[in-house]
């Protein structure tokens, strides 16, 4: 019965309440979540934040669980992890608790495995990972990134392969991996987070403005779920905090990027989290700055001077079966990501 499944809704907090709200509660146990964005958009940082957060006690939004971190792109950023523990725990749990815990405890409960090739990674998925999961303590598994070894044909003997064969084999690998993960997520009561890269898209948009989610260029995109609908979802309240977001976002996504690995992968995940960044200025900040300079011209038509620009970041819930689409502007500091809201003057 549906109402009996109420207790199945267990979430790992990201450590920030507004980001959690944007995602519907955080990262849901039993789900397959994708974090996608361009290079340096903060995907690994977010995952490190989740890896710490998952270990916190339930009172603080964690699940007191262990974490598996699969790393395929370069060395695991252990220093960043080490430096994030205290500030994040301090922010989420307060000073007393933060002082009472030892950062190395957090580092010990994260099992890191680094794989330089696809074969070793798949072998681990068949043997090592289920063994780790079967201890029953793992609540979160992060794969950073799922795209690294699957995007291009790196093994020598396959160089002569046609693209069709490559894509077909890749689809098959993704599907069988996905099926395995879905079972494990349910059986071992844990969440899976996959980091994916973006790829360039060169073709045009549709005539009627529809899109395949995450899979096309979007030249005329305005914010999903923004503005004109009359519903009173909490997500629109989140968005309407600044009316300026729609134009900034539209400009952001005209750069024609789409998540890698194609539609096969998009159908395997439950939730897609996109991370964007852009140099710009919130309207309210610009207004303040230009008022300070005694300049009363219309901000909407004037480009802010470059010395005032800073890098702004967003986390977006692109799709999810358990929460409506929503975006949250965030800042990144030594404690990880937290939301930011601009007060309209």
């Amino acid at each position: 019965l549906a109402s009996e499944l109420k207790d199945d809704d267990i979430w790992i907090s990201t450590g920030d309440r507004e980001i959690d709200k944007c995602l519907g509660g955080g990262i849901r146990l039993g789900s397959m979540v994708e974090v996608v964005g361009e290079s340096a958009s903060g995907k690994t940082q977010l995952c490190i934040q989740l890896a710490i957060s998952a270990q916190l006690p339930e009172a603080y939004g964690g699940l007191d669980g262990e974490v598996i971190y699969i790393s395929t792109e370069g060395p695991f950023p252990v220093n960043r992890l080490g430096s994030m523990v205290y500030p994040l725990v301090h922010r989420v749990c307060g000073e007393d608790y933060a002082n009472s815990v030892d950062p190395s405890d957090f580092m010990q409960r994260i099992q890191v495995a680094e794989f330089e090739s696809m074969e070793t990674m798949f072998h681990a998925f068949d043997y090592k990972v289920p063994a780790l999961l079967s201890t029953g303590n793992v609540r979160l598994m992060i794969v950073d990134s799922i795209a690294a070894h699957l995007r291009f044909n790196t093994s020598d003997e396959d160089i002569g392969q046609s693209p069709m064969t490559f894509y077909k084999e890749r689809s098959d690998s993704l599907v069988s991996m996905g099926a395995k993960f879905k079972r494990w997520a349910n059986e071992y009561n844990c969440a899976f987070v996959f980091i994916n890269q973006v790829t360039d898209v060169f073709t045009g948009g549709h005539e009627d403005g529809t899109r395949s989610v995450g899979y096309t260029s979007r030249p005329d995109l305005s914010l999903p779920g923004h503005g004109n609908s009359n519903d009173s979802d909490s997500s629109t309240e989140l968005l309407s905090s600044t009316a300026d977001m729609s134009t900034e976002f539209a400009a952001l996504v005209t750069r024609k990027k789409a998540p890698a690995l194609g539609a096969v992968w998009s159908n395997i995940i439950d939730t897609r989290i996109m991370m964007y960044q852009r140099r710009g200025l919130a309207q309210s900040e610009f207004r303040l700055a230009s008022e300070a300079q005694g300049d009363s011209t219309d901000q909407a038509t004037i480009e802010p001077p470059s010395h005032l620009l800073r890098t702004r970041r967003w986390i977006e819930n692109a799709f999810s079966p358990w929460a409506p689409s929503a975006q949250c502007e965030v800042v990144l500091d030594e404690s990880g990501f937290q939301h930011i809201s601009h007060v309209n003057v």
């Binding site: 079972r183 395949s212 539609a263 929460a323």
Partner: protein
């Protein structure tokens, strides 16, 4: 000339068992001395279904009879004005299959939840007060998602469906709506098939079931037979036939969500064709496609139907 075992209306696995054990025609097992041998490899219920299948003649109905059936068919409103209009004003028909083709994140789960809830509403509000079976093959169902769907359903109506005047839905109303949804989680194709083959038992346990939703029908076959399209298609065909039988025998509406085909190399074209081809469409009374729009609404199109002309509509929220 006795009837071949293959011509009987039996599940394929049962036919295979019979043939493997040397029974090729009905005459082979009709004779009583041999009947005891059957129990060596068949269960009691299988022997019974064998007996009834052997005696049954394929039915033929007059067109008039079929029209009478169509006239007495029940419908339940989806409570989405444009979608009901697309479907000819009545909503989703019982006793028929409806296919919904959707892409990743296209809103299929929301639509499935909406249908389960809308079917549960009392007749005064366009529903039929029936229970639904939600077969989840991908892990899409969640209590919080269902609660949100219930809120969207109740607050988007011109007449308030809440029992208080405030916007807050009473939790007992939500529970009574959600109690009508029976969730089954299956992972592999054989689990799905086994579940559906035992639908008779399900229907006897869940008295008021009127709607079966499979979200999605494509995934378990893809996962269990990765790379083996031929095998998948054979099972698809068998399942399509089984689903038709279940729909008409139990007078339930069956809604199948299938995965949209992604055109290789052209990533911009929204696809309203299913990766399973037309196997579900052939047995479905209605086929729809569902896409999420960049500005937040949805586009839902009726692409093929035995009952209504094609059309499309734009919906704000499901």
């Amino acid at each position: 000339m006795s009837r071949s075992v293959l011509s009987l209306r039996l599940p394929v696995y049962l036919q295979t068992k019979l043939i493997q054990n040397g029974y090729h025609t009905v005459a082979d097992f009709d004779e009583s001395p041999l009947a005891e041998d059957l129990s060596h490899f068949l269960t009691q219920s299988e022997v019974r279904s064998l007996a009834s299948a052997a005696q049954a003649q394929p039915p033929a109905h007059s067109a008039w009879f079929i029209r009478q059936q169509a006239r007495t068919r029940s419908y339940f409103s989806t409570r989405l004005r444009q979608l009901d209009a697309l479907l000819g004003g009545g909503g989703i028909p019982l006793g028929c299959l409806t296919e919904v083709v959707g892409e990743a994140g296209g809103g299929q789960t929301e639509l499935c939840l909406r249908l389960c809830l809308a079917a549960r509403l009392p007749a005064a509000q366009g529903g039929l007060g029936i229970d639904s079976v939600y077969i989840d093959t991908v892990g899409s169902f969640s209590y919080c998602g269902a609660v949100q769907a219930a809120h969207r359903l109740c607050t988007s109506q011109p007449e308030r469906l809440t029992d208080e005047n405030g916007p807050e839905l009473s939790s007992s109303l939500v529970t009574s709506l959600l109690d009508g949804i029976h969730v089954f989680r299956v992972y592999a194709a054989h689990e799905l098939m086994a579940l559906l083959y035992s639908f008779d038992q399900i229907a006897s346990h869940i008295a008021q079931v009127g709607l079966v939703v499979v979200n999605t029908i494509s995934w378990p076959f893809l996962a269990s037979f990765t790379g083996n399209i031929a095998r998948r298609q054979v099972l698809h065909a068998e399942l399509a036939h089984l689903l038709s039988q279940i729909a008409s025998k139990h007078k339930v509406a069956i809604v199948l969500v299938s995965q949209a085909k992604s055109a290789f190399g052209r990533s911009n074209t929204p696809s309203s064709s299913s990766m399973d081809g037309d196997v579900w469409t052939r047995v479905a009374a209605n086929r729809m496609s569902l896409q999420r729009r960049p500005d937040g609404g949805f586009k839902i199109a009726l692409t093929a139907s035995t009952m209504h002309p094609s059309g499309e509509a734009f919906i704000n929220d499901i």
